[in-house]
Symmetry: C2
Subunit: 629 residues, 2 copies
């Protein structure tokens, strides 16, 4: 009997421990059921959520929610003590979450008075989810939206979608693209649109609009038209009809995200038309419903095939600037290549002046250790905004790192990237370090020692990753396809050259790096003049981008007096040391601040990260070492 | 012919490179032969050296050297522009070296006016050199003073001794003990004393007095007396005669250093007499000539055998305080055990009030990686002086790290410990970091990048060594005899228990550490009350000495929330990382600041240090890890 009791006791303990699986994200308020919430206006579904959240979790006597039509027409709000005022229902919702966040972050009953407006009107997640449930560049399980079995739709879990909505609302995200940019034509068929409607109905009260990625050739692929030529009337009509159908189901549908004529996707180029022709045809179809087209600038290997890949987007889109409808937005990755740990900003942001721009950031860590490395991305985005004025952008999109894993993101610390994306999307001037700290406090504990130590670790993590994966501007020497480990000798003759590591590092016995100066591919000329000059000159080019812009002799003198080859060795080694230091701190010093399950899961990943960092160092130094001899 | 020329050219290059062997130490002035030096007094041999050094190396028009009888009677001096004033000839010499040092350290012609006096009147090196040429705890080759072949004295190299004298004078050292404290009776025989005289003649103009370590039983060992009982008249007479003989040869002979009744050395205890009896007999013999006795307090295993080793010195000497002649000084190691990388200060300095004290520091890195690890010791000595007021001490002795190796000290960076010892012996308030920087500038280059990076490395090196050798106050878990690598399971039944690592760490399944609290051996009670209270309480005991003073459960909560066992693991690992970081910086970033030979020799030693640090970590964590399971 005693043994049975003991065994039950142990089981109970195990369950308690196992319960801390990270699923709660940063939303760990304890119910207090205390506040009386006064709403001065009609209680819409959105306001009802704000009210319910505050009634349940706010640890104060009363809160007032008030609409004010004199405020600017955006999602902003004013907090004055315990009164939240906003122009829109959404503003009251965001204000409610802010009040709860303030409560989590500070012990005292501070009497805040301030107004805040979002920097971008469009704050979107992009899900690269396929209808079969897989996720391109997804490292946290399968899609929360989609699943098929024998070509039959398996319904999503509506409770999970509501949790997802709440988490996004708590950090101000107001839109989501539900499917992969490499889109299936099926997405726009009736059965799937019905699913989209169900999702939209769940997200709507949380002020989150749904958007869809579309396959440009959908009408043709579905057999409804003979072509997908955007100037063909039957095609345009098809899209108009489809728009009508969608908006009937989802009156506030956000619009389309389009990857066209890129990496094998169909597009207007297939019919001799321009991106503007294609985007405008779609824009016209959505215009009556206030829908927008987000047209991606991530194109290469098409019209400008053979040109330095990082130049092709500007080459393609600059001549079209001014030709787009006013409900078209160009969506461009932060860097000109492809989500490397460090890239210079994309020169699109210097060159496209007449068309609204959005930046596409990647939250999922495709080239940054995926869900196995602890890499906090907010400093990278902060770096981007130091080159590109947020006010020059209409919107911001983040490629989501969310999947069916219990903790949503695979790595517990990858949740911080989702969180930080939302916070920076609201206010890019927030310091990445402050965001790390507020996330840690809400997600783990407000212990000062823990927050200080672990925020430091987070802040150093991206630079560490840069050091062991792509020091001094080296780039794209990742293994083919999976983009995780190193493959500096990567070359497959049947592949596009732009997929091959050797194309990017160009190491030979004389030197290493990609000459994009005016003496090379002249990619520097796509930048605004002062940046072009800075990058063009090997003496002024920032050393952390040296090999991005220059082919440099191995014995080139660095600013600190060492040679290039010595510096490369120093960087790879320092990157490994930095991860080892993170691991030691987490393993031996942080255990008692964190529940057993999350501590162990992070610890195991750090062990793996150390091993992978060493692999990067050893493989690359061996390869380049042989090269430079 | 061309090939021959080329080959000659390469040979010449190789010779040039090889020439930088570190022999020049920090004395790298370039001859300018410019300054006119005016001496207002009689030019003694000491003043002549000052004059010559300035005439050769000072890059100014004129310097005046002036004696001033109104100044305090010590080795201090005043620099007023280019006039040096001093009470003694030695002061002018030290002032001359200071002027040259200032010249090396600052590019501009600064117009200094300041006066400086040495903190200690006795600033001595102790050489643990044996007459056969070996050096106990010497890691830089054989003795520069002694060598025998078939019991015949091989003469020393007088040029080398003069270089040694100059180096010491340049940093203010004014005395040297020429032989090992485990002394041979032969030392006091005529042939050896003649050698001592020759050395003294070379050192004298550089203001360096010679001292000798003596074997307490010398008269008996030489067969001149039947006993060495200090109260025996024949013995006292022998010493009086010996003193007369010595002072006839060396009128300014400094005195004797005595290790008695310790680790097998003879002493007054062998005849039922006290240390005071022994010291006083010798003091009386030297008194007529103003000689002094430096009597070492490093005793254990004698009268207080069985007592906690760190307590035995106070137990032995405290009752004798007040019984010593006024020309006896007690010389005590900085810590109560034996030159560990970190020890608390020795409580002798709290307990001996009526007898002058000297501190004995160890420059040679017996327990700190010897000449294979880069460990800068000045921060350790700085730490000592934060507990023991320099003004409470009459003198300072440093166990030298000098040998016949071309670079004097084995490791190029070990030169910094010799240099820093001299500088701190003059002024213990000098910051160890400033000393590191001035040493680097004089020894390598004044490049700001180099000095900043490498001084940081030096400053972190001792703490790194503590972490990988004796984290949190663990101590003496060194391999038997050679004191280099780890041997945590070290126990040899036939050895004194106080030599065995297991005696010191006392690790078992319950915990680890030596309980010296009031509940244990009560060693804490030997400290002044406020320190005794601090160390006695496990809650207030500094964590870097925790296992020195307490036996602590493995799961003890540290101040940062981790357990003891976690902290131990963190420390060992962080120590290794710190050395790896040093190695990376030196290997990949410092090469161009340093000549090839010194760079490579340091680099090779750093590689070895990394490997040894890893061995410490792995061996100790394995052993303690098995223990704590």
């Amino acid at each position: 009997m005693r043994r049975l009791l003991l065994s039950l006791f142990i089981t109970a303990l195990a369950l308690t421990a196992a319960a801390e699986d990270g699923h709660q994200l940063w939303l760990r308020y304890q119910p207090v059921n205390k506040a009386k919430v006064t709403v001065t206006d009609k209680v819409s579904p959105t306001i009802a959520i704000a009210k319910r959240e505050l009634e349940t979790y706010y640890d104060g006597e009363s809160v007032t929610l008030k609409l004010d039509a004199s405020m600017p027409d955006d999602d902003g709000f004013t907090i004055d003590g315990t009164t939240i005022t906003a122009r829109r229902d959404a503003g009251l919702l965001y204000g409610a979450y802010e009040l709860l966040r303030n409560q989590q972050l500070s012990a005292d009953d501070a009497n805040y008075t301030y107004t805040t407006h979002p920097a971008f009107s469009l704050r979107l997640l992009n899900h690269w989810d396929n209808l079969d449930g897989s996720i391109e560049r997804g490292y946290a399980g399968e899609s929360i939206f989609w699943k098929e079995d024998n070509a039959q739709i398996i319904p999503f879990n509506p409770l999970l979608i509501e949790e997802y909505a709440r988490a996004n609302a708590s950090i101000g995200i107001n839109g989501t693209v539900l499917n992969n940019v490499n889109a299936s034509p099926k997405m726009l068929t009736k059965p799937y649109l019905k699913e989209v409607k169900k999702i939209a109905d769940i997200l709507r009260p949380y002020n989150i609009k749904v958007y869809l990625s579309i396959n440009f050739a959908t009408p043709m692929a579905l057999g409804d038209t003979k072509t997908a030529d955007p100037l063909d009337k039957s095609v345009a009509r098809w899209w108009q009809k489809k728009a009508k159908e969608i908006y009937k189901l989802i009156p506030d549908f956000g619009g389309f995200l389009v990857k066209a004529n890129s990496e094998g996707q169909p597009g207007p180029g297939d019919f001799g038309r321009t991106h503007a022709d294609g985007a405008n045809m779609l824009a016209d179809a959505l215009k009556p419903y206030k829908g927008i087209i987000m047209w991606r600038c991530f194109v290469y290997g098409a019209n400008h095939k053979g040109e330095d890949r990082v130049k092709q987007a500007v080459s393609e889109f600059k001549p079209l600037d001014g030709q787009f409808r006013d409900n078209v937005i160009l969506q461009t990755k932060n860097g000109p290549l492809d989500f490397q740990p460090r890239e210079p900003y994309s020169p699109i942001f210097d060159q496209i002046k007449k068309t609204p721009n959005m930046v596409e950031l990647q939250i999922t860590q495709e080239y940054l250790g995926q869900s196995r490395h602890l890499v906090y991305l907010a400093p990278m985005w902060e770096e981007f905004f130091s080159f590109v004025e947020p006010s020059s952008l209409k919107g911001i999109a983040g490629v989501a790192n969310i999947g069916l894993d219990r903790n949503w993101c695979g790595h517990h610390f990858s949740q911080a990237n989702w969180y930080a994306f939302g916070r920076q999307a609201w206010d890019p001037a927030l310091l990445s370090e402050s965001i790390a700290k507020e996330w840690l406090i809400q997600t783990f504990t407000n212990d000062a020692q823990f927050v200080k130590t672990v925020s430091k670790m987070m802040m150093e993590s991206r630079e560490a990753c840069v050091k062991y994966m792509m020091p001094l501007g080296l780039h794209h020497i990742f293994k083919f396809d999976h983009h995780y480990g190193p493959e500096p000798d990567g070359f497959i003759a049947s592949y596009p050259l732009e997929w091959c590591p050797v194309y990017y590092h160009k190491a030979d016995k004389n030197g290493i790096g990609f000459d994009r100066s005016s003496k090379g591919t002249d990619a520097v000329s796509q930048y605004r003049p002062e940046m072009a000059r800075l990058y063009d000159n090997i003496e002024t080019c920032p050393e952390d981008l040296l090999l991005w812009f220059h082919h440099v002799p191995w014995d080139h003198k660095m600013k600190d007096g060492s040679t290039l080859w010595e510096s490369i060795q120093a960087e790879y080694n320092a990157g490994v040391l930095a991860v080892e230091a993170m691991q030691i701190v987490w393993r031996y010093k942080m255990r008692h601040f964190v529940d057993e399950q999350r501590w162990r899961e992070v610890d195991e990943r750090l062990q793996h990260q150390v091993e992978n960092a060493r692999e990067w160092r050893d493989v690359c130094l061996k390869y380049f070492g042989d090269m430079q001899k």
